[in-house]
Amino acid sequence: MNATIVGIGETRYTKWGGISDQSEFSLACEAILKALDDAGLTADDVDGLASFAGDRNEAILVAQALGIPELRFADMVWLPGGGGAPASVGHAALAIESKRAEVVVAYRSLCQGQFVRFGAGPEQVWPKVERGFLVARDLVEAEFGWMVPYGVYNATTGMAMIVRRHMHLYGTTTEQMGLVAVQTRAHANRNPRAVMHGRPMTLEDHASSPMVADPLRRFDCCLESDGAAAVVVTTTERARNAKSKPVELLGYEEAVGPRYGYAGFANHNMPEEDYTTGGGTRVASRLWESTGVNPSDVDVAQIYDHYTGMVLIAFEDFAFCERGEGGPFAEDGSLPFNTAGGSLSEAYVHGLNHVVEGVRQLRGESTSQVDGAELCLVTGAAGVPGSALLLGRTR
């Protein structure tokens, strides 16, 4: 693509509710300014902003706050939660390729503790009740109406059922999921920015962590955290003058299959053949085809890790192994992944931190650096409509 990543920025990362002295909006601005500084640019250079579904920090207000002189492109990807982080960078690249903008910053800021928590109570979450029902304020709330009366309030319960089905069909085990958690935690322990830095984990720790939604234990679930991240994308020409080492955007794909919707988050009526995929098979096959890269050529991957079991499924979706072989592939351990600690152990920023770590790997700056890394896959969440990027080291 004629688009290059030239800047990355992150705020401090803390556990959920850990940041109360600075607004979520302020963190968004901080991450964007840090990413611009990393690139040797300022807000005067920015003419585009991109984020993805669920961001409270409207691009128009970010532009106002940062004094951006002329915003010519503002984009929100319609992929929920962690599905859209790679796509926000992809859309930034599309804007640049089409000459709609020259410097686009993709961002995500998350401080859920500063807002109403889902499940906090009906009177806080849904103000209007009629005939014993809550009046859904948007389509997504109406989708959740198929789950809420059954005590399902979040992704964990829905994804647990996908993982349970995968275990039933393929014999996937708790120990294989534990390997994902332990490997990711080991990376976090080399990364001082990680929320779980200094908190080593063994397979025994994983197996004895409390059950949340069977088969998912606490250590199978991502963190909830506060913090923000940003990524600056610009033209290949302008990237030559960047302060930092540019990283090539070799490919980007997003795709939503038939009747997928909120899938494992809601009504579970995706097609049978998609049920125990993460829905990422279309994204994967298009990415490998458009870039001409084979999965075995990838040196390091940042796989969206909201749940360990979904990482095993993502290995299958992205063709690192056959369907049903995600567990044995994790045991094999040949692919370094989530080298900053991921959502499980670094921070939960809906996966934009995965893009940041991918860039770091290809600059040679990771705290768990893969020697000579030239190709890095970055994926959005499995189990919701997703997206992916292939990043390459600049020669």
């Binding site: 029902f133 809420v148 949340v212």
Partner: protein, 138 residues
Amino acid sequence: MTYFPDGMIPPPVSLDTAPFWDAAKEHRLVLQRCSTCERFQHPPGPVCHRCRGSNLAWRDVEGRGTVYTYTWVHKAFVPALQKQLPYAVAVIELPGAEKTRFVSNVVEVTPDTLTVGLPVELVWDDYAELSVPRFKPV
């Protein structure tokens, strides 16, 4: 019986989904069906996703199915559910509705008896203003 205590969150509904809950008050399990294609679709929508026609109706469905997958929830995300832990949530395949999948609870089961493939049948759980379909082993 009421399976969940007072204080649980009722379903958020829209004009497109409210007919399901209105039928539930009459203890009828209904799903949307296209009168042209003669096929069910869930979740319901403004048009048939196959023929894109709007010749849609709500059709009664037999409350028998099999467990497609399940989970035991061990954490109370709403305080009122603390005493209910763990409770079972399942995806239930409804052969009477072309294997449409329906998320609900399975009651009267234990971790030993709840399995993929378990035959289940509908039970209505009545609250003051709401009837919720749940399932129990046949």
